[in-house]
Symmetry: C2
Subunit: 477 residues, 2 copies
């Protein structure tokens, strides 16, 4: 998907679509291959009194779930999805560039019809309230739409209130200043090493859309982009991707290639990346440590800005039309918007033709802003064009996880801010390794949080942290 | 292989080795799957009087050859090769960096034992004179070591004589001058477009080791690197890779994924890349066209050098210890060195422990130069570490093909040099499309040359061209 959207020339679409369709069908058939049920049954029989969070049970649970879901999905829906996505992404790309919603609408219609059929086929009454929930299980197993809705109902009003509080109290901002990208690269590499990313088992490269790909704990690759006049972008990006990378490098080596050797969920992954990006990378202590490195790598002209200024600048809040440009205070409003609309689309309660109006209406309600065009509105994200219905909640779950884990680490490890100022990130990393990474997928994301923090995932830690940190940075008392 | 050598962190070696071994074994088993012989037989029966160069016959010939070769190879040799290569490449990388031949020697011993066994297993008396020839068929089907040896016997003395003639008559050289890499990129992109590379069906990116990857005529990707003070490197590289890319884009679209939709051989591929790199890119006409573009993209300071100087500078000749840095006049001497040594290694006539001495001795004979260390000697190439025995001849076959095709195109199309000066590259490209690209693998590399030029592949066109072009550039009469 990434290659197709970012790299592939237009001439490759047809061939790629055919290949992806074939691959999807082959994978589907393989999951349903003869004799697998018997093997799973026999293995389950041999487990004896192995505990539910043992590696073996985790493997069997995941294999069984994959197989059970595959067996519910008719092959023609699998093939159709793969075929649709390839073409729809190209259409979306063109439509977004041309601000032409009508050019994408017929594709979205077909994508939704397919998603709805898949969701209905996958839905198990005892487990899923609706088709949307059945789809979301691909990204966040066990996610309840009802529960997520409640979480948003807690988040949205307090985030909007915080936004209102901060309005009119701008933080000092770093100016845009030229910084050669090779120097920026040296800087962010030093920061990534400092927080513990292991370059003997990983790489840092450049790409237009930053990402982290982990094929194995010994080979984890992150990428970033550089704005030649705005180094903080690369710092945030590399902390975020390093957070993903640290999780991948910390997964149990001996389980590589087995289901339990994977991350617990996409939300859990996002929890790690956002913990390092936001709770570490937007802390006063981190910038006490990083400011001298900025001056060392980028040049003496950066000495004009002290650690305090750099830290506050990273806490600037400004509502944006674009989700990927959003700050920490408003990010989840973007998720709320999409989650609510998406459920209505999948349920058939919202016609595609009415999507732009609904989007703009809801955006106004959440942000008090008028969406100027669909490019900055309902056409901005690739997710639906890629058939990813049920994916957006993982971003907010990541925010909640990050905050709850970080609060617990802080409670147990003492003044982390002071440790960061001294360049000590290892205690935090060791704690995450022990409490999160080492489990792989033996615990679900929900169990992981419960196990590490002693309570269910909720909004309190996140909202408290947001309010405390952003009020401090904005001098609100 | 490329990823492992260029990108993969050291921590990924073990896992990668295991994966590659599994993939190699799975591919081997798949090629030998039940019922395939019957299908091939039935298809052959249905072909009737289809001509030998029909697409269907080409497909069956290639499928049959793959299957026949796979059936001769015991699975344990396939697995061992894959396993060995992963580890040996890491060992080679370290050994080269440390100039430590002894650190690589045990791996080379094992690689050779495996290659010898594979060669013996693959060898068909009627087709192969020895194990080496059986191995070389993977890269250049139908290659005769005897014939290649004769070609080298014609090439080496005349290339050495030309080298002696040119010695002491240096051409004017461009100085090293700073040129921002984004400007260089704009320049080489313009040149690539000018010669006909289609960016709607291709991309140009950056990588440490330049390459061309063609998955389909609609998606062909080339890469280059940039020396910030020496733009001609990127020009040569992009012309070379665009040459590969033009071939890939010109392959029959309807045959994508079928054997006959592929290039005829590696030598044929190299023939296309070297034609554009050397016969076009080192011509007076090309530089008349390119010089104003250089000034436009890189800056007015480059106007100090006229087209004549740029052209001559690209024809500088200087013996190098390193093959990949070699100029056109001495390149095949590097191939001759490797070909002769490699055959002796595979035949068991040369012990690995004697390799450095033999290399340095032969290098002295060919170049009249003392190899200073193994890093610049027998440790320089990745090929053997990657199990690629029999690969080197394809470079020289490419040189010969390029020259013979270009001479014929010149004969038929008239003064190409004048066309290049006017920015007209399409007639040459159209000729190559018609005579080479459109055939895919329906004709073998040897048949392709015979068909396009009316004679067998030989050294005359290449040597005549080399002498004429390099004497002109060096003012030798």
């Amino acid at each position: 998907m990434w290659d197709q959207e970012v790299m592939m020339p237009a001439g490759g679409v047809e061939q790629r679509a055919a290949e992806l369709e074939l691959l999807a069908v082959l994978e589907h058939r393989r999951t349903l291959g003869d004799g697998i049920d018997e093997l799973l049954d026999r293995a389950t029989g041999e487990l004896g009194d192995r505990s539910p969070d043992s590696p073996e049970r985790a493997d069997l649970r995941e294999w069984g779930r994959e197989r059970e879901r595959a067996s519910r999905l008719p092959e023609h829906l699998v093939a159709e999805r793969a075929r649709l996505e390839s073409h729809a992404q190209s259409a979306w790309s063109r439509a977004r560039a041309a601000n032409d919603f009508a050019g994408f609408a017929p594709w979205l219609d077909r994508l939704l019809a397919n998603a709805r059929s898949r969701g209905e086929a996958l839905r198990v009454d005892a487990r899923h309230a609706d088709a949307w929930e059945a789809l979301a299980e691909d990204y966040e197993p066990g996610l309840s739409a009802q529960r997520f809705s409640e979480l948003l109902d807690e988040l949205v009003p307090r985030q909007r209130a915080l936004l209102a509080e901060l309005r009119g109290r701008p933080v000092p901002r770093l100016p845009r200043m030229p910084a050669a990208t090779d120097r920026q690269e040296a800087l962010v590499r030093a920061l990534s090493v400092a927080i513990g990313f292991d370059f003997d088992r990983g790489r840092l490269d450049r790409s237009t859309h930053p990402f982290c790909s982990g094929t194995h704990p010994g080979d984890v690759r992150i990428t970033t982009r550089f704005d030649p006049e705005w180094f903080p972008e690369a710092v945030s990006t590399v902390l975020h991707e390093s957070g993903h990378g640290l999780y991948e490098q910390g997964l149990p080596q001996e389980a590589a290639g087995r289901p339990w050797g994977k991350a617990a969920s996409l939300g859990a992954h996002e929890g790690q990346s956002r913990l390092w990006e936001n709770h570490v990378g937007r802390s006063r202590g981190f910038w006490s440590f990083a400011q001298p490195l900025v001056v060392e790598h980028l040049g003496l002209e950066f000495a004009a800005f002290d650690a305090e200024t750099m830290w506050r600048s990273q806490c600037a809040v400004e509502p944006s039309f674009i989700r990927v440009d959003a700050d920490e205070v408003t990010y989840d409003l973007h998720v709320a918007l999409r989650f609510r609309i998406e459920r209505d689309l999948v349920a058939g309660n919202l016609a595609v033709s009415d999507l732009p109006e609904r989007w703009n209406h809801d955006f106004r309600e959440l942000f008090d802003l008028e969406v100027p065009d669909d490019r900055r509105g309902c056409l901005q994200d690739v997710h639906w064009a890629a058939g990813l219905f049920g994916y957006f909640p993982t971003y907010t779950l990541g925010n909640l996880q990050a905050a709850q884990l970080y609060a617990e680490a802080y409670r147990e490890l003492g003044d982390l801010d002071a440790a960061f100022a001294a360049g000590e990130f290892r205690p935090l990393l060791a704690w995450l390794r022990r409490r999160v990474h080492a489990f792989g997928a033996r615990l679900s994301a929900a169990e992981l949080v419960r196990h590490a923090t002693g309570r269910e995932l909720g909004t309190a830690a996140f909202l408290d942290s947001l309010e405390a940190r952003y009020r401090a940075a904005h001098d609100v008392n």
